[in-house]
Symmetry: C3
Subunit: 440 residues, 3 copies
């Protein structure tokens, strides 16, 4: 840990260059066939360990986690369909989306009629392969383009899925960066999707680069990054950490961070917790277009963090939310769909949010009766009578007037319409002039 | 009482057919000359008793009711004006609106100049007869079309009002349908208007058919229907029931329910009581156009129920509110002005409101930490990865997430944007799966 | 003190005639060279004493007032610049704006280059002289039109400022009009600007005429008018009155009240104190266009009254706010810029605000169960059945229904959408009928 601050990291950030690094990491991770368990998750975490010191956890199949049970581990070596002429028309080796995730092993010959219920396509996008899973109901299936499906002729098809579904482990990654206080900021992303980029290699690489940046600075909060399979992963993690999640002061679920769309923030169930206010402030300050949405009990792992028995202050900050872009959960969510500038911009916004959390404080004005004389302290312009107020001076006045022990800097920024960074800088100047005192 | 529920009644409702029945009842009630007391009220209640077992109450003239005194009973046998040529130009037997309600008896000859202050018309609608009353200041008068009034020539007019204003009774009807709990839903309509339809034979027939429908089912709440003269009736009823009105959990004043206009809901003085939320939800769920208005201390009997000493949770759900349609309080508010489909639709909406009140509950999610595994309980689609959420599943997730003991189903419906019926159905499924418990 | 009320004063007000008187007083005050201290302030207060019995206070230079020190007294007798040809090109005697307020004495010859940093102009308005001050950093300077500045040629300029900056006094005026209660209404205006009209001779004359009007009536509140130099004046006054400012129930800072613009109200930091509600109500009732703005910690002396250690209920009611009209702090803010009708209208609105404060009360309906029978008390029309509600009767019903001890007349006016005066008059009628009782 060194002494530079997050604000300095932000000032030094070359978001275009970092965006290209992030896209490069996504490209390395892309070919791996991930699911909620299995070798693909282990390979993914091993690659991440080249960037950040993430620790790998393994939880045995059959472990009870609240109402759920850790499932058997699924691994797949290959799969294909041969048409009546013996030609391989669908081959797992050309795209891992071709096989329904968690398909049970199968080896046999099927008529087209028998095969058809096991084939999935997207009629509206005839060239794309859909992404399908069946974790908790044993079945098997293939996904293929609708164009290909439509051309299938009557006859006997040879089908092979060389997969195993056996007792093993659920694998996830965790990285803790201790801070001055045990209060934690949770950053959670799901790593269970195969060759799909926006959902969710984008969340994975933003998380990794965020961890890398935070590793280099002195931190107020303790940061906990978790790389988990969706749903069963957060449930497992919550079950294992039930006693300590009360330390979570703020959290975000990272996903869909590489597309060209505007940011969307989905509030935590608490609605106005400090993560909610901090994200809104960062978005306002960014000058970008954005959407704010209230919590709904569906989406990614925030649905577990925000279940009523936990109700943690965890929101989700994405670009285009899941299900609202046609490429979602199809082969079109590929390396061409995500952009290095979008990844860099997402990292930059996350850093802004965390800088607000790190810098937010509540102060007491030590000279609360009338304004202090700022002029003699060099904190105010000396030649009066001008009609233009300067933002620096306004920020100073806002901090003085509202530092009554009840308004944090974040609330003052919100109330004033000024940027959080301007308010935080004014507080620094006033602290330097012994005009403020921190309220614990 | 049998075991069918209000929801089943609603599903079986043939609103067109019932609307025609309602219009037929209104037609029977139309010719009767009602006022705040007298034989007209008794005849009206007698006719209602053919539909529902309403009980008739008589309160003696002179009874003190809060700041008021039950007035003498008014009855009228006939009335006319003969012009100088001896021709009957105004005759009570052709329309009971012709006589100002509560006119004192009169018999004599008057010059046109003497007569004129006793004649009322509507210049803007020269063919319509206005409706006028003078309950508490003894006078007499006639109402006639402005066209007729304008043609009156100088000369002596013979005037006769064969009425009596003597000690008697104030008559009202009451019907109580006991439920599982003593908590009451009050349904109040005024029955003091003579041959006027929207105001308020419409309220009277919707009330009667509502009582008929509720009589056939098992009820959570106790329902109390009152058929009372306006103002003095509700004051009298409140005076007689002062000790028990605290049982009123929700209430509505029924009026103007037969015209072709959209629904308007006037909130109770409490503003956000459960009747207010239930009506708003029923209107939203209906998909119809509607208006919501805040409480104002004028209108119908809600002004008494919502007087500050009672402040009961009683709103008023109408179609076009009083005074906002030109036919209001004129002879044009006749059997042609109200429509069977409007009456049927009003009944249907009232049933929806009451179904929400009946079904609203607050539950506790018994598996509050993370989501329960819905799939293995058959409560969730099994093939993941699809981008379309189904309403059934969303409703299930909403009920689970917000059943924290603080959100009733009504509040969950409001928060989710889903229909109350979908939320209530989800709660039933979750109860069936032992995932919820009712909070008392 | 006599027995007429503020409402009667308002009814008798000839705002056009009074506006002309106010403009005449402003014309007398215009030529005086005021600053935050000195003879100009004393002359100003002496002239005011011809209108109202304002008391003059003197506070010695060097007095500590919170974080500030009362500065030396500044007086100026004359000042000029002669060009290289010996011609007086800038002369204090033609406009007191020519000299930067609080300039130190200077006598000497300067090259144009040496002189230039001491010269101030407004390039966007080349014919106007700006207004500049330098109270707390000793310097000297001249203000002149940009046209004149642009024409200056190289050469030696003779500069003279015959001023003194020596131990003396800060002078301010105060007038207290005692009322029935010790609770105070504070009316504060700054008197430190030289020949500038809207800012702030307008505030000064509205204050004076308000005091004159209030002097003639019986008052509920005690009124305190203060005529002070900006910033240091309110700080000094607060320091001297620290123990008693808790009596301030409401307050306003008066400025910019003579221009042709609409009214703008800047709320107190408390945001919804009774002065805030009263001003908003008066503006609504006026039927005029207006703007309402939230408190911000810059502006006039409200920034001191609303500093967090005081947080007094003091707002600022102006026409066009400071800095939002081009003439602001320039020689164009002269006697032609302010208008007698605007001054009269401002006085009238301030009287309306104070009448609301004076008349606001909270009552208890003594007949809270159902409506009282208004008809027999002559408080309600007797011939029922009409569709038009009359405002008088509506006001009566509003006051009765909401006089539950929790709603003041002001809140009832706000809730009803009726004018405060109509609500207050209804309350008077109901008091006369023994239907209300004041809640202390």
């Amino acid at each position: 840990m060194n002494d530079s601050t997050l604000r300095e990291v932000i000032e030094d950030l070359n978001s275009a260059a970092v965006g290209r690094e992030m896209l490069a990491l996504a490209s390395e991770l892309f070919p791996i066939c991930r699911s909620i368990t299995g070798q693909g998750v282990r390979k993914t975490l091993a690659l991440l360990q080249e960037v950040i010191p993430v620790e790998v956890h393994e939880v045995a199949s059959g472990t009870e986690v609240f109402d759920w049970t850790v499932p058997n581990e699924w691994n797949i070596r290959g799969a294909y369909i041969r048409d009546p002429s013996g030609r391989k028309i669908v081959d797992f080796s050309s795209s891992n989306l071709h096989v329904v995730s968690y398909s049970s092993p199968v080896q046999g010959v099927f008529s087209l009629e028998e095969l058809r219920p096991h084939l999935h396509s997207i009629p509206e996008h005839p060239d794309w392969i859909p992404y399908r899973t069946s974790y908790y109901q044993e079945t098997w299936g293939f996904c293929l383009s609708h164009r290909q499906l439509s051309e299938l002729k009557e006859g006997d098809y040879e089908v092979s899925i060389d997969a195993s579904l056996e007792a093993g482990y659920l694998t996830y990654g965790e990285l803790v960066l201790p801070g001055e206080t045990p209060a934690e900021v949770l950053l959670s992303c799901h790593i269970c999707h195969p060759s799909l980029c926006n959902d969710n290699l984008s969340g994975l690489v933003v998380s990794a680069f965020l961890a890398r940046a935070l590793g280099k600075i002195s931190r107020k909060f303790t940061y906990r990054f978790i790389f988990i399979p969706g749903t069963i992963g957060s449930i497992t993690w919550l079950a294992k950490n039930e006693e300590t999640v009360h330390r979570i002061h703020a959290g975000l679920v990272l996903a869909n961070l590489g597309d060209a769309g505007d940011f969307t923030y989905k509030r935590s169930r608490q609605n106005n917790s400090s993560i909610d206010t901090a994200v809104v402030q960062a978005l306002v300050d960014s000058g970008l277009e954005y959407e704010i949405e209230d919590f709904v009990p569906f989406g990614y792992d925030e649905r577990q963090y925000c279940s009523p028995g936990f109700n943690l202050p965890v929101g989700s900050l994405t670009r285009t939310p899941y299900g609202r872009y046609p490429q979602y959960h199809t082969s079109a969510d590929d390396l061409d769909f995500i952009r290095s500038d979008a990844l860099g911009g997402s990292l930059s916004l996350y850093l802004d949010v965390l800088a607000i959390l790190e810098q937010d404080r509540t102060y007491l004005n030590l000279n609360p009766k009338c304004e202090p004389q700022l002029g003699r302290r060099g904190l105010y312009g000396s030649l009066g009578g001008r009609s233009d107020g300067r933002e620096r001076e306004l920020a100073t006045l806002w901090v003085l007037n509202y530092s009554d022990g009840h308004h944090s800097l974040l609330r003052i920024a919100e109330r004033s319409g000024l940027k959080f960074s301007a308010i935080a800088a004014a507080a620094q100047r006033l602290l330097g002039a012994d005009l403020l005192e921190e309220v614990s």
